[in-house]
Amino acid sequence: MESVGDLERDLEGMREYYSQGKTKEASWRKSQLKGLLTLLKEKEEDIFKALKQDLGKHHVEAFRDEAILPKIAVLSTAEIVPEPLGLVLIFSSWNYPFGLSLEPLIGAIAAGNTVVLKLSELAPACASLLANTIPNFVDNKAVKVFQGGPTVAEQLLQQKWDKIFFTGSARTGRLVLSAAAKHLTPVTLELGGKCPAVVDSLSSSFDRKAAVKRIVVGKYGACAGQACIAIDYILAERKNISTLVEMMKVIIKEMFGGNPIESHSIARIINKQHFLRLKNLLEDPNVKASIVYGGSLDEDHLFIEPTILVDPPLEAAIMTEEIFGPLLPIISLEKIEDSIQFLNSRPKPLAIYCFTKNKSLERRMISETSSGGVVFNDAIIQYAADSLPFGGVGESGVGRYHGKFSFDTFSHEKAITRRSFLTDFWFRYPPWNAHKWQLLECAYNSDYLGLLLVILGLKKPRRGSYQPAYSH
């Protein structure tokens, strides 16, 4: 890691390069984005290897989740001109190390900024790959990549940035926002939360099967539950739970085989610290007692098998903290509408998933709860919907990106007005008098007839209007 002096010199160099105007050119931006696409194509195998090494991710899961579709539009109306902010800082995360690095990077470049990208040290193989390959595919004077841990992050946060984009935990998000406050740096925080899946009664067995498949993949197939938009827990009516659990068991076996660790289709836990954290969630005897499936942990391989729990105590950590792992609690409700109050008494999550065909529940879910987004009858997939903004609210985040929203998030929308020298209203200017006052009132009310009448001397002042006693 460089010294602070070196870092500051580097950043100074980047600002200098930015001020030359190169990064604003459309041709430069296109060439950079092409470079990144080429990187993805040429290094695909290496990327899969690195993901396997860091997370034990199956390459199809990796491909499905981390292939990126850059879509940029440089919008310019006569009145609002988007311009780059300058020098931006992106903090990536470890669970989707390619997607969460490249997608914001693409947005920042498309908007014409110079970028520093700080990769997560918890996914070292991926970080190393990105740090070594990105410089070969993009303009090094404008894009720099840093590896390293909290010390590097702190050093970077001391500097002044024109924008900071952070993906990670709420706890660290607060630190980033506090550091940004010193320089009045605008920030986008992509955090997480406990994303619930509200599962209503579904009459058709086809629908039920589809729902369960999507739920299972939306938990265990999403980096083993280590995703900000993974399903954290389920809310369902008491009478449906046993069927739900049975169906889930069947689907889990179908998807991951009898011995999931051998399927190589589920990611492992990222490191020992998180493994122990998850192990700890299950230590509480009341929580342990609520396990109905799975529950075995392999510390050597950092592997936890898909686990289902029914009605662990609501005060237990597993129900108060974001799980971020393959443990799926199901909470029973008397009736499904109770889910709304349940959700409203908790912090706003990044996503709410609702499996239902009941239109009234759909409407209530949208209008009576708050979350980053809502998805009906599926999970995770909103990440691929480029026309929708992706971001949280409250504890789940500040700001948004994806598609055009990425471009916007790294731009300043400058408002331009042009006026001509003709048509100058003389009554705008002092010295003011009752006559000008009348004209102004008409003008401001777009009362053109009134304006004409006043000019012709045919309109009396409005009775009761305040007229200061001016001597003019």
């Binding site: 579709l69 998805v375 300043h412 400058k414 007005t417 020298f421």
Partner: protein, 546 residues
Amino acid sequence: MESITFQLLRDYSAVGFGANRAFSYRFTRKSNQTRVSFPKLIRTSSGFKSCSATLSLMVEVEEKPKFDADKTALLVKEVRKSFNSGKTRSYEWRVSQLKSIEKMVEEKEMEITEALHKDLSKPAFEAFISEISQVKSSCKLALKELSSWMIPEKVKTSLTTYPSSAEIVSEPLGVVLVISTWNFPFLLSLDPVIGAISAGNAVVLKPSEIAPATSLLLSNLVQEYLDNSAIRVVEGAVDETTALLAQKWDKILYTGSARVARIVMAAAAKHLTPVILELGGKCPAVVDSNIDLQVAVRRIIAGKWACNNGQACIGVDYIITTNAFAPKLIHSLRHELEQFFGKDPMKSKDISRIVSSSHFARLVKLLDEENVSDKVVFGGQRDENQLKIAPTILLDVPEDSQIMQEEIFGPLMPIHTVEKLEDSFEVINSKQKPLAAYLFTNDELLKKDFVQNISSGGMLINDTVVHVATEGLPFGGVGESGMGSYHGKFSFDAFSHKKAVLYRSFAGDASIRYPPYSPEKQRLLKALISGNIISIILALIGWSRD
């Protein structure tokens, strides 16, 4: 053992014409605090239609209880309870509140103008143009457009989520805090509040204590006209603001200085509260020679001295022009200034005074700095008793002088000359990004270059200040001049959460998403993501290029 310390806070905010001062003594005891103020009797000037209500409030000796943190927490809790009940979400509620604000401004126009005059000696015309009419049109626009703003925005979906439909739903954030300022105390309090209400939030407003008459009026009017269960005003100064900032808000909109903005944002960071910061900066006016000089100069004057006497975040801070053109420009400025404010501008009623003695002292210090005071080419008169400083023009003060480094916020106008006008870009870019940048020219190429190379919150070609009244444009800064924006629909958006909603059906369940994973699934996925129909067909039938 109690200890009592006296802090004599001399507040020189003149109220009305004449030397009226209010002294507050703060007694601090370890156990409790009381603030007692002993204002002198206020004389109102003869040429002023006085209102007995406002006269009596000034004479009252008030013992204000300390607004402590517990009380603040309770207030926020009450307001939040109101929000949670859902009442602020309905279209009807929002419309009723907006209509009430409209009614309030109509019925109390006189009181509002008087309060602004008390706080700032603001001419009635300025009060009307810059504050009252703006609030009215803000309300009108919101009332007219609200139903369409509230409609969810349908968005297209792509092949990757097929079959699906999607929309973006605007929902209120919850309970928001608006911290206002003293220079346009009425507008900058109500405009954000209008935005917050139209987005369906509950709102707490903290007006500036440096404009006390307006602050008190706002407090009374909101109480009288609006739904107090969801809309409240908290008056006060540093203590009250600190107590408010310690609470959890769903959004904060702050208008004021960059220094305090950092404090606001740091407090907001603890709760992950998003903020809008409307700050200021040194807004430059670049003046070319090939223009209609009289019109340009009038507009510059309108954007400086006729705009709260330079005390405006978007006011023209300084001028840049060529060496060759400067004399002509100065000549025209002098002429038009006399037309506007008479031969003795200190006597003109059409110009605001300096808001407080501390700001007065600050401005005089800028003016009297060595190597600056000798650059005055017009004006320079000052009257401490009346808190007046005449429109003053300076020519080519040193670049490193205070007046060229910090935001002036007063009636001093430095003119900086350059060889050719393109050199002005360097001057502007060497400073922090301002809230607004102005250019007077007929040269199309210069206009283009200006827009491309200068970064500022907003820009206006061939006029000053009026861009903020342009419907359809966001008003906000960048860098040191702020973050976020509002006005018109942008106000509605500023106080909303744009919730992404995706509807999927159970049909069309693509098994390629699910484990067990296979090379075939990967090929198909790749093809689907590329969107290339040939690849998709090839992958489906088992052929592929990989």
